[in-house]
């Protein structure tokens, strides 16, 4: 079961719920952070840095560095390591990249 790869069996997770990530359904469990659910799924690249386009993902894991930013419908840009998944949550990793490249074409 691919999605269970990164999850340790020493705990019984919360109820399963679906997380929509750029239109793709990802299995997550109540109590997991967005970063946790993405990591368990094998995702490492959460966004691309606006200036160079370099890939970025989780770095500090405790809310200090703001590297793991993702876009959540209704919440905007959030630190994925600090926000717990909710049923029906819609997450986008592409939205931030698109917004950043849009901004880059302005005068800045």
């Amino acid at each position: 079961m691919r999605e269970e790869m990164g999850r340790e069996p020493v705990v019984e997770r919360g109820e399963p719920l679906d997380l929509l990530v750029d239109g793709e359904v990802i299995r997550a469990y109540r109590g997991e952070t967005i970063a946790g659910a993405l990591t368990a799924e094998g995702r490492r690249v959460f966004r691309h840095a606006p200036r160079t386009g370099a890939p970025r993902g989780v770095f500090c894991g405790i809310g200090v560095c703001f590297e793991c930013l993702v876009t959540v419908e209704g919440l905007g840009r959030v630190r994925s390591c600090m926000v717990l998944v909710q049923p029906g949550m819609k997450v986008s990793l592409r939205a931030g990249d698109a917004e950043a490249s849009g901004r880059g074409s302005e005068t800045d």
């Binding site: 340790e8 109590g31 989780v58 405790i62």
Partner: protein
């Protein structure tokens, strides 16, 4: 607006000890933390939604975390989780932000700042690649989420955190291809006589060492990671032997295939709130950082503002709890709560613990202090400021144009102006500026934070205005 007597910022070991002690001494206490659960980084626990099947295998830190949580729940202390303190006013009014509830104020009569620490960032080529995590970040993911962030892992840095992180990775099923420590076994041996008497810590170390030996994890002493490589994520990590100044020796490189590189060079104390509160800071050379000056009863230079735990310098959970208890008791006494023989005894006992654990913190401080070579690993193209993507070469160019301090470089390059507000890049930029100008680091370090110290949605500020108006 809400009011309290003692507001404790941070619900780690120091903050919990402070809040519980102040409450026992009769004070009305509110503890605030950004995270949804008490415990802080060290006593981080799985979320309530998880059921822990076998608590014993989660170790003694988990047991301690549960114990503190239970004490908190059984006490009259008010706990505000998921609360960001983004500013503070001179009359000790805290400016709060809670997701979904907007901004609010909390007026306190005394404050205990126990906002902890985070992994000390060290820049090297490839350190921004996905899959390069801080050791503390990997530990948090394992401890709280019980999710394994990699299968083939190299753990590298300097200091006592590397061993428990490597052990936790092994236990979660990862192959740890090496634990790379910058100091040498000889340097450890030369300090070992000073560690006698700290039996708990020695026992922990022996347990970690034994677990790594059993798992046949290769150990490299006197080595550092010099670069990480990969296209979209880390694929290889290269280490090299270093001299006494931690400068790599040519011809000693070794390369590992990895999908996770954990970096841990000790910690930086979070200084945003002490700075914002106007606490007088003094440079603490072994930690390369300005830290708040405080009395033996943990009061900072600002009357009624106490500091405890990693806020006063890196010292671990035992020292944090002792300092927290001292600070909480002192705050309650200051507010005029009854100070009988039992409180006096409690204070004396906490002070004795504080002095004992401080001794061990000093040993680790010296043994694992950063050395100059570690700040020279970044190449010209290596970003120092991850938020604004400012490279070492751009910082160098700014210095050559005359920017002789972090503040000046910030003005020239946008370094430290992204959402992390310089938490990650400050010391890195300071060391490069110091290197380029020949000035000591203590003279070029700077950056006074202005609220909000972490980004807050603008709409939330409107709510605060209403909250404060309603209070008048």
């Amino acid at each position: 607006m809400k009011q309290t007597e003692v507001a404790v910022l941070g619900a780690g070991p120091a903050g919990l000890a402070a809040g519980l002690a102040a409450s026992r001494a009769g004070a009305r206490v509110t503890i605030l933390d950004e995270s949804p659960y008490p415990g802080g980084q060290i006593y981080r626990q799985p979320p309530d939604a998880f059921r822990v099947r076998r608590p014993e295998i989660l170790g003694k830190e988990y047991a301690r975390a549960r114990q503190l949580s239970r004490q908190l729940a059984a006490s009259p202390v008010e706990f505000l989780p998921g609360t960001l303190v983004w500013g503070v006013e001179a009359d000790k009014t805290l400016l709060l932000y809670r997701e979904g509830q907007g901004a609010a104020g909390l007026k306190a009569e005394a404050l205990v700042v126990a906002t902890g620490a985070y992994d000390r960032p060290i820049a090297f080529p490839g350190w921004t690649l996905p899959g390069v995590w801080t050791a503390g970040g990997a530990q948090a993911m394992l401890k709280s989420q019980r999710i394994l962030p990699g299968r083939r892992v190299l753990v590298a840095g300097a200091g006592p955190l590397l061993l428990p992180v490597a052990k936790a990775l092994v236990e979660a099923g990862a192959t740890v291809v090496g634990v790379v420590e910058a100091t040498t076994r000889l340097e450890w041996a030369l300090q070992s006589h000073r560690m006698l008497g700290y039996w708990d810590r020695m026992r922990d170390a022996v347990r970690y060492e034994a677990a790594l030996l059993t798992a046949r994890v290769p150990r490299f002493f006197g080595h550092v990671v010099v670069r990480a490589e990969g296209t979209e994520r880390v694929e290889q990590a290269t280490i090299a032997a270093v001299d006494r100044q931690w400068r790599p020796k040519p011809g000693t490189e070794r390369r590992f295939d990895v999908d996770l590189l954990c970096i841990g060079y000790g910690f930086l104390s979070a200084m945003e709130l002490p700075r914002l509160l106007g606490c007088e800071l003094v440079f603490h050379a072994p930690q390369d950082q300005y830290l708040p000056r405080h009395t033996p009863e943990m009061e900072s230079s600002v009357p009624g503002v106490y500091v405890a735990g990693e806020t006063t310098g890196i010292g671990g959970a035992d020292l944090a709890q002792a300092e927290g208890a001292v600070a909480g008791l002192a705050a309650a006494r200051r507010l005029g709560h009854l100070w009988g023989a039992d409180r006096q005894r409690e204070m004396a006992e906490a002070q004795a613990r504080r002095r004992h654990h401080l001794g061990f913190a000093r040993i680790l401080d010296e043994l694992f202090a950063m050395r100059p070579g570690i700040y020279e690993l970044a190449g010209p193209d290596t970003p120092l400021c991850r938020c604004e993507e400012i490279t070492a070469a751009e910082v160098q160019a700014a210095v050559r144009r005359g920017a002789a301090s972090v503040r000046a470089v910030k003005g020239e390059t946008r370094v430290g102006q992204g959402p992390c507000q310089g938490r990650i890049c400050n010391t890195l930029v300071a060391h490069l500026v110091a290197h380029e100008t020949g000035h000591p680091v203590v003279e070029v370090l700077d950056i006074t934070p202005r609220p909000p110290i972490k980004p807050v949605p603008l709409g939330a500020l409107a709510g605060l205005v209403e909250d404060k108006a309603g209070a008048r």
